[in-house]
């Protein structure tokens, strides 16, 4: 999910010169995510905002791929031995021997 808009919601300068910055980023499905950090005086808050938006878009893509892998692993975990046998029997009659051996090794 890409980030479609980002803005600085609030800034609050502290006595030591640092600034509390709150950002809001909006995903393309409308979900919002908020970040608060205590920024240094030298920080370019708009640049931080932009870089975070790019990182969030990238991160959600990685999370999506990770979730797909986790789901795949879970689906294998849920298969019982009998299921494997059914799959093997079904595949055995239609595929070259090498692929059946691969299924055996997965099991």
């Amino acid at each position: 999910m890409p980030i479609v808009s980002s803005k600085i919601k609030s800034i609050s300068v502290q006595i030591d010169g640092r600034t509390y910055v709150t950002e809001i980023h909006v995903y393309d499905n409308g979900d919002e995510v908020e970040f608060t950090y205590l920024g240094e005086e030298k920080d370019d808050f708009n640049q931080v905002l932009k870089e975070r938006a790019v990182a969030l878009s990238k991160e959600t893509k990685i999370d999506y791929e990770r979730q797909k892998v986790d789901n795949l692993i879970s689906s294998f975990d849920e298969l019982k031995s009998s299921d494997f046998q059914l799959v093997k029997t079904a595949v055995d009659s239609k595929t070259p021997k090498g692929i059946v051996s691969d299924i055996d090794s997965i099991k």
């Binding site: 006595i15 509390y20 995510v33 970040f35 608060t36 205590l38």
Partner: protein, 442 residues
């Protein structure tokens, strides 16, 4: 309570009886040990395994297995601890510390150079308590390999403790996934190739408590986050007296409900302060504030401090407010007491006791330490709200358009001496209030 020896370079009988006949791997040494035994690991122990490593301790809750790196591979018995032993898994192979109870000292664990979903897995078996002292974990996978703590289930007695331990990763997507009880006291995040974008996440299904104190996390700076908050699993994070990176964001993601993640960060900073606090809950956040403060209010002796409460639009309700930290003050006499807390907000319209209230816990039972909880909140949903009293206090109000000073008071009868605890609770949604955390008791 036997003593065993472990040294990768030993070429003897492998009985573990002495350095010459030492076990050559940690797994073999543990397999040959019993509850309460001590395994001495040689200073030059450098074990490498190109397959998954599963370490199960025979130790019990009352008799931990002790695995100690020592400063020798010749002296028997050794007389001093060491920190130079290494245990390594190469390829896509995890290192798992599963069931059992153990104390481990001074070993560097290099885990998984290949792709693996979880590199280091600790406290993953039923009934365990793994204590690592002065150890280093380098999760070296360039994939999103993480350190996963506590994964067996709700009834597993899962506990993992790091004492002066260092943890490093080699992927920005890696993180420490916490469930069960995780205590980390002293140590640091080190650079083992990459710094994670976000350091902690909750395991998806099992609640956890993570207490992290005295840890240097300063490598996570601008653009990094400490905790993923958008997970449905109840987990409490306590971070105290830690060194942070400049401009790090404490949480990422939205807390989905009152039973989700809560974060309590106290006295952690990248700079020379001793007052920074950031608390995050479903209802909102509470941060320390050093500009909008009350004159003669709370201070660390140099810097005046207030607490900035910011509630979310869909956050607090009358019965589930944004509750602030408890303040405690010693009460040295019995009888009628009045507690007062000042606050500031930006509106000409007064806040009422249906918007904000004070909660006080006092010792109101004669001859017993049985506390009594009292509140200035509107009594129930049918009662009429009443304006909070005008504060009459002087505040620095930089940036406020309509500064409005009000106060919260509660009067009660203390029956015995002891601590009075109080906290402010904000009900009003999507609102900001500055609270002076200086309790005044009269």
């Amino acid at each position: 309570m036997a003593v065993k020896y472990c040294r990768s370079g030993a070429a003897g009988a492998g009985t573990g009886a002495d350095w010459t006949n030492a076990y050559t791997t940690l797994v073999l040494a543990i397999a040959g040990s019993s509850a309460g035994d001590t395994i001495y690991v040689a200073d030059d122990h450098a074990e490498t395994q190109a397959s998954a490593m599963t370490i199960t301790s025979p130790g019990t809750a009352g008799a931990l297995l002790r695995i100690i790196c020592v400063n020798t591979h010749t002296v028997e018995p050794p007389t001093a601890v060491g920190t130079t032993a290494t245990v390594t898994t190469t390829g896509s192979f995890n290192m798992s510390f599963t069931s059992g109870y153990a104390y481990v000292y001074g070993i560097t664990f290099n885990v998984t150079t290949g792709a693996s979903s979880f590199a280091t897995v600790i406290a993953s078996g039923t009934a365990n308590n793994w204590i690592f002292d002065t150890c280093t974990f380098k999760n070296l996978s360039t994939s999103s390999a993480s350190m996963k703590i506590g994964v067996a289930g709700f009834t597993a007695y899962e506990r993992c403790e790091f004492i002066n331990c260092s943890v490093g990763f080699n992927s920005t997507s890696s993180r420490i996934a916490v469930s069960g009880i995780f205590l980390w006291r002293g140590g640091s995040i080190i650079n083992s190739g990459q710094i994670p974008t976000t350091l902690f996440i909750v395991d998806q299904t099992i609640p956890g408590i993570a207490e992290i104190s005295d840890v240097d996390m300063s490598l996570l700076g601008s653009g990094k986050n400490l905790i993923t908050a958008s997970v449905a699993t109840p987990t409490l994070y306590y971070l105290r007296n830690c060194k942070l990176g400049a401009s790090v964001s404490v949480i990422t993601g939205t807390i989905g409900g009152q039973g989700g993640v809560s974060v309590f960060l106290d006295n952690c900073d990248s700079g020379n302060t001793n007052y920074r606090m950031e608390h995050y809950k479903y209802q909102g956040k509470i941060l320390q504030e050093t500009t909008i403060v009350r004159t003669s209010g709370a201070s660390d002796g140099t810097t005046p401090i207030s607490h900035k409460f910011t509630s979310l639009t869909t956050g607090p309700t009358l019965f589930s407010p944004l509750d602030g930290p408890w303040f405690a003050i010693w009460n040295d006499s019995t009888g009628s007491k009045t507690v007062t807390v000042q606050f500031m907000h930006d509106s000409v319209t007064n806040l009422t006791n249906a918007d904000i209230y004070l909660e006080v816990e006092y010792l109101g039972t004669a001859s017993l330490p049985l506390g009594v909880l009292t509140s200035s909140r509107v009594a129930d949903i049918f009662a009429a709200a009443v304006d909070c009293t005008a504060g009459g206090a002087t505040w620095t109000t930089t940036g406020l358009t309509n500064p409005n000073s009000q106060k919260l008071t509660l009067t009660f009868t203390a029956q015995i001496k002891g601590l009075i605890r109080a906290r402010v609770c904000l009900i009003k949604t999507n609102y900001t209030v500055y609270v002076d955390p200086l309790l005044v008791v009269t």
